[in-house]
């Protein structure tokens, strides 16, 4: 068994865990970051992409609103390249309580959320698809964020400072020395090999899975309620500004333009299992109805894909048992030294993506306290790798880059404009045979045809580069198609149904993928 020795072991490679690794590396600690799957494959990679202005919480949860606007400003500085400055509207539709608008305005003022009321006619000129019956509109500084890019930027930044980043390594047992946690044993999903990681402090940043990880460490009573929500990505941007309903937070009240799509979200339902990705027809239906309220004709527009994410909602003593929206959205930092008398172990859970940096900062402050070392946090000023220029991402960037090499650069994924060069780079860099890992890096196969035209090409490239056997390459292809299919079948209507038929003819009819000889290996293991 390989052994590693480090200052801080972080379990969980979502935005929070990667944020902790980045924060710790900047403070000069040696770090090992592990995740049972790929980085940002869980909750972080399964949200709508919105960096809140804070407006959503201005009435209901003023502290959260203050945190959001503060972090929004910081993220725009430090993660500029991952963020697009789309701006946001809060709109009062005919279905919203008109009295809420004034409370909203007051709430924003009280919490310091920048908010300007504008003429609805102006908002309609900016966003012509918006419901013309909106009565009031407030402009707020919403933004969107590419989470995968952000998380990998932090991981690479940490690696540059000596951190070891191990995706597809699940914690299988904790090292204990009496009342001290001294690290954990992790197992590589592909290799099956176990690594013994000795750490001065172990951070449980596993979000919705934090209760299970705490159990594994022998810490009792860390209860995290997974709140499942569905999101639907529409084929192109119906709006270029984030549109929020001006009402108390509820289902289906945000439409977020991000990259080439726009995402409507979300629902909120308690589930016992954070790996539960059920999508119910009634939920899809309700979400489309909500979309129709914001953008008339929403049901005629093309839905591309649906997915679910699970929020980690930390349950406090007052938690009700049914609706998770009322359980605290604030993050919870558990210093197990103070709480359980176990040193060397800290849990961070709850919270929201917008505040991941703050969560990481507070976590590392607690780690420093446990270690008795004073090392100040610098993540609020240090730009992430790639964001040094402090220029925001623009949607047209890929188109612009492609124009420079119009006939030279071969497009593999046409919808998301992934060139062969970029694909080969990513495969080499990740040393992976899992095309879903590549998808998260490049958006490969995330466009209208959902891999229909690019995945057989990408498989060929992978096969050529990696020296995979034909069977392994076929398995990589099939695995990717299976993953895509999960998000397509619940929205099989209209244009996406036609696409699915064509894709099916390509893969089943022309290529006969169901009958290709493939290995039975678990392709999620890279």
């Amino acid at each position: 068994m390989t052994t590693l020795s480090t200052d801080v072991l972080v379990i969980g490679g979502g935005a929070t865990g990667a944020g902790v690794a980045w924060d710790a590396a900047l403070r000069g600690f040696d770090v090992v970051l592990v995740d049972r799957g790929d980085l940002a494959e869980g909750t972080s990679g399964r949200f709508h992409g919105l960096v809140h202005s804070g407006g959503r919480y201005a009435v209901k949860d003023p502290k959260a609103a203050e945190e959001c606007i503060a972090e929004n400003r910081i993220l725009r500085r430090i993660a500029a390249d991952c963020i697009e400055d789309i701006g946001g509207f809060f709109v009062t539709t005919p279905w919203d309580d008109p009295a809420y608008a004034d409370r909203f305005k007051d709430g924003c003022q009280a919490t310091g959320v920048d908010c300007e009321e504008i003429d609805p006619a102006l908002s309609l000129r900016e966003e012509p698809r918006l419901n013309p019956d909106i009565s009031r509109v407030f402009r707020v500084p919403d933004a969107n964020i590419d989470v995968w890019k952000t998380v990998w930027a932090m991981a690479h930044g940490a690696q540059d400072r000596g951190a070891r980043v191990l995706p597809y390594h699940a914690a299988v047992a904790f090292r204990r020395d009496g009342d001290r946690v001294t690290g954990a044993r992790v197992r590589g999903a592909r290799t099956g090999e176990e690594i013994d990681v000795e750490a001065r402090v172990t951070v449980n940043a596993s979000g919705a899975w934090a209760g299970r990880v705490a159990d594994l460490a022998g810490i009792e009573g860390v209860r995290v309620l997974p709140g499942r929500g569905i999101m639907i990505a529409m084929n192109h941007r119906l709006v270029n500004t984030c549109v929020n309903r001006c009402q108390m937070p509820t289902d289906g009240d945000i439409l977020v333009p991000i990259r080439t799509v726009c995402v409507i979200g979300t629902t909120d339902e308690h589930t016992g299992d954070p790996d539960d990705h059920t999508v119910r027809e009634s939920e899809v239906d309700a979400m489309l109805d909500d979309g129709e309220k914001l953008v008339p004709g929403f049901r005629q527009a093309r839905a591309l894909r649906v997915w679910t994410g699970v929020r980690p909602l930390f349950e406090d003593a007052k938690a009700s048992d049914t609706s998770t929206r009322d359980v605290t959205r604030a993050h919870a930092l558990l210093d197990h030294d103070q709480r359980d008398g176990v040193t060397g172990f800290v849990t961070i859970t709850g919270g929201k993506l917008t505040t991941f940096r703050l969560m990481a900062e507070e976590t590392m402050n607690a780690v420093c306290r446990q270690l008795g070392e004073h090392r100040p946090c610098t993540t609020q000023t240090e730009p992430l790798p790639g964001s040094e220029q402090r220029e925001h991402y623009r949607l047209g960037e890929r188109l612009e880059r492609k124009e420079e090499h119009l006939s030279g650069a071969q497009l593999i994924c046409e919808c998301e404009m992934v060139t062969r060069g970029k694909l080969e780079d990513a495969i080499r860099r990740r040393a992976t045979t899992n095309l879903d890992d590549i998808r998260r890096l490049l958006r490969l196969g995330m466009g209208p045809c959902q891999g229909g035209f690019c995945i057989y090409r990408a498989t060929g490239v992978l096969h050529g580069l990696d020296g995979l056997s034909a069977e392994q390459a076929d398995a990589a292809l099939q695995h990717f198609l299976q993953e895509r299919w999960k998000g397509i079948w619940p929205i099989l209507y209209g244009d996406q149904l036609r696409q699915a038929r064509l894709d099916d003819w390509i893969f089943q009819g022309v290529l006969g993928v169901a009958h290709t000889p493939s290995s039975d290996g678990d392709r999620s293991a890279a």
Binding site: H236, G396, E397, E400, E403, L406, S407, E414, P448
Partner: protein
Amino acid sequence: MSSVTTPIDELLRGSLDHCVKCTICETQCPVSNVTPLFPGPKYAGPQAERYRVSDEPSVEWSVDYCSGCGICSMSCPQGVKIAEINAQARHKLKVQKGIPLRDRIITRPTWLGRAGTPVAPLANFTLGFRPLRVLGEKTLGVHRNGPAPKFAGRRFSRWARSHAAPATGRKIVYFHGCGTEYYEPWEGQKVVEILEHNGFRVEVPKQDCCGLPLQSSGLFDDARKVVLRLARALAPHVRDDPDTIIVGNATSCTLMLKREAREILDLENDPDLALVAERTYDICELLLELHDRGELKTDFKPVNERVAYHAPCQQQGHYIGKPALELLALIPELEVSEMNARCCGIAGTYGLKAEKYDIAMAVGADLFSQVRDSGADTVACDSETCRWQITHGTGRSSVHPIDFLHRAYGL
């Protein structure tokens, strides 16, 4: 954050949802098949459109190499408005990068016609004089070999005013367009005589350009003004009588009135243009409809000739089939061979532009060789700029299909 978007952006853009990436449009695109400078209709249309934000600057130059022929929209089995999306993107690019003087000049046939007609011999000499054409290419960017038409030296409208129209007959409004007015007035005379032969009383309102050259070069604001001026001129002639229609022999200009101006220039709500669009017919479309109703005179005399027929892209954009072919088939002894080529390359003014001339000639190469192989002395084609290009590319004379009808009627 967005600034101002016009609703038409959204209407055309919405059609990209129907794209299933099938690539049929790319197999049909005459331009991307001959040059790497245009990445193809699927790329520039539904694919690139997902990356365009109304208030972000245009980042592509390649969409300017789309000739606007419209074959992509026509061939799309899913109903994506590909050419129209591209036209919008080209407009944005032109507005942002500045419109070359050349594009401002060659897109205004009325200016050119008015300036050239009184001094036609001199103007024609100039257009045919190589050193001056070389100079024109270097200073303006109009290719030295581009098929510039010759001024007729007289205007069709003058003939029409002096022409004694029959006192009776069913009223019809004739939209002759700029090509007939300044370059081929005889085509207009033939249209009038054919219609009169079939019992119509032809009215020729005072009229001007339809704005298509401006629109296809991305000068949308000017194109709007021009097409609306034409709509205002034509609409009063048909408004009071629901049976009165407008007929034109310039097939790309009638398509502009029927559909393109409304779709591409965001003029769906203009009542005059809507009325004109509804009443406008292509001349061959009208004659074939008359024939289908048994109302077309068929006293055709034999014409013992061979003709090659090319249906121009803009004609096909009417979605009316190829009525000219059926009309030509009515003429005894006329041997018609249909050309099976996509596009002649000219696309209005595209092939005149110095940087695009070679592309246009490469696009037309297939048609040119088919024409030469056909053994026909004459090419029939519904669009004047295509005729000029075909003659330029083949050395064969080219006429509007109604020329043969006119001869067969013995008019």
